[in-house]
Symmetry: C2
Subunit: 207 residues, 2 copies
């Protein structure tokens, strides 16, 4: 499995915009190469049940499946990996308790990017590239900040934060391995079509 190649179009769930299962199915039909289940403050049983379904769907479409924050849910549903931010479990601890999970680190500065790589992250979710309503308190690093991170680490970098079909090209030209989107897909009337449009742009720029 080529991790870099599978991070091209990384779609994240958001139940404030769409229920997880149907929207993920549509995103996969539209060409998402990776899915992240991101659910805050729901019972573990609910995350586990939805996670099992998303794991099955992502297998059918040969996409990667990540779980936000929860190492236990990622292990329980046999996800490919887990996405960890500064408020989640430390990377080095997650690696100890989950030997086979791919660890993605959410980083909001060059310093955090270098630190995460050093601690053993397998890829970075770097942002926020642009301001975004999904995470209003996130620091905005801009295209320049993103480029610096891409040039400074060896592990794959996925750009995140305010990315849509109008700005995706310039983001992809910074040298990132992929783009992560929430509202550009989950906020669209037609999830499948929105994903298809982004996938087309990704293929144009990354080849």
């Amino acid at each position: 499995m080529n991790l870099r190649n599978k991070l091209k179009l990384y779609v994240i769930t958001d139940r404030r915009l769409k229920p997880e299962v149907e929207s993920v199915r549509e995103a996969l039909e539209g060409g998402a190469t990776a899915i992240q289940m991101r659910i805050k403050n729901a019972p573990t049983r609910e995350m586990y049940e939805i996670g099992k379904t998303l794991r099955q769907l992502t297998r059918e479409y040969d996409a990667l499946f990540f779980v936000d924050d929860r190492v236990d849910v990622a292990l329980a549903v046999d996800a490919d990996g887990v996405q960890l931010g500064p408020e989640d479990m430390p990377i080095e601890v997650a690696k100890e308790i989950a030997l086979n999970l791919i660890i993605g680190a959410s980083v909001y500065s060059l310093e955090e990017a270098l630190e995460a790589e050093k601690k053993g992250a397998d890829y970075l979710g770097a942002g926020s590239v642009f301001p975004t309503k999904t995470k209003e308190d996130a620091r905005v690093i801009g295209l320049e900040g993103l480029r610096k991170i891409v040039e400074s680490v060896k592990i794959p970098v996925v750009a995140i934060g305010g990315i849509n079909k109008d700005n995706a090209r310039e983001v992809l030209k910074t040298g990132v391995d992929g783009i992560a989107v929430i509202s550009a897909v989950m906020g669209a009337e037609d999830v499948r079509k929105a994903t298809e449009e982004l996938r087309k742009i990704v293929e144009e720029v990354l080849g």
Copy 2:
């Protein structure tokens, strides 16, 4: 390690009543034989940090340490076990991803007790024995319901729900292996003294 013997006086944290670290230290000084960290809706990093401290304290006092709901946090802090209710991860799944954790199951009926034992729970937290403000929606099984569970399973049973120094004796006489308390200890002005009084009663009845 004799699990039954270590479940005699099982104290559960509640940050609505007291911050975890200091109250657990006092409960351990007062004779708690097991501690459960129960934190809802806090960032994983915070649970991990507090959990590490509680793990260290419980080691110093030779007490067992359990984490409510979160298998990942339990693994990360090297807890002895995890406590799983109907809204948490299924017991059989937790056993698969965490081979060495003691699994406690929260059960609210004889049927659930038998089911949890069958699925591989190592002990039961059975209740609610009495009505309790800590969990107002919990079913009340009473002393009779508790006794039926004790007589029907082979694994250790800890009684929970509205237990205090005034009713602890009659609860212990049902044949349970221990009592679990939240507000009787965490709601007391003097946590250490409240724990000491309960420990004394436990020793009187269980010998």
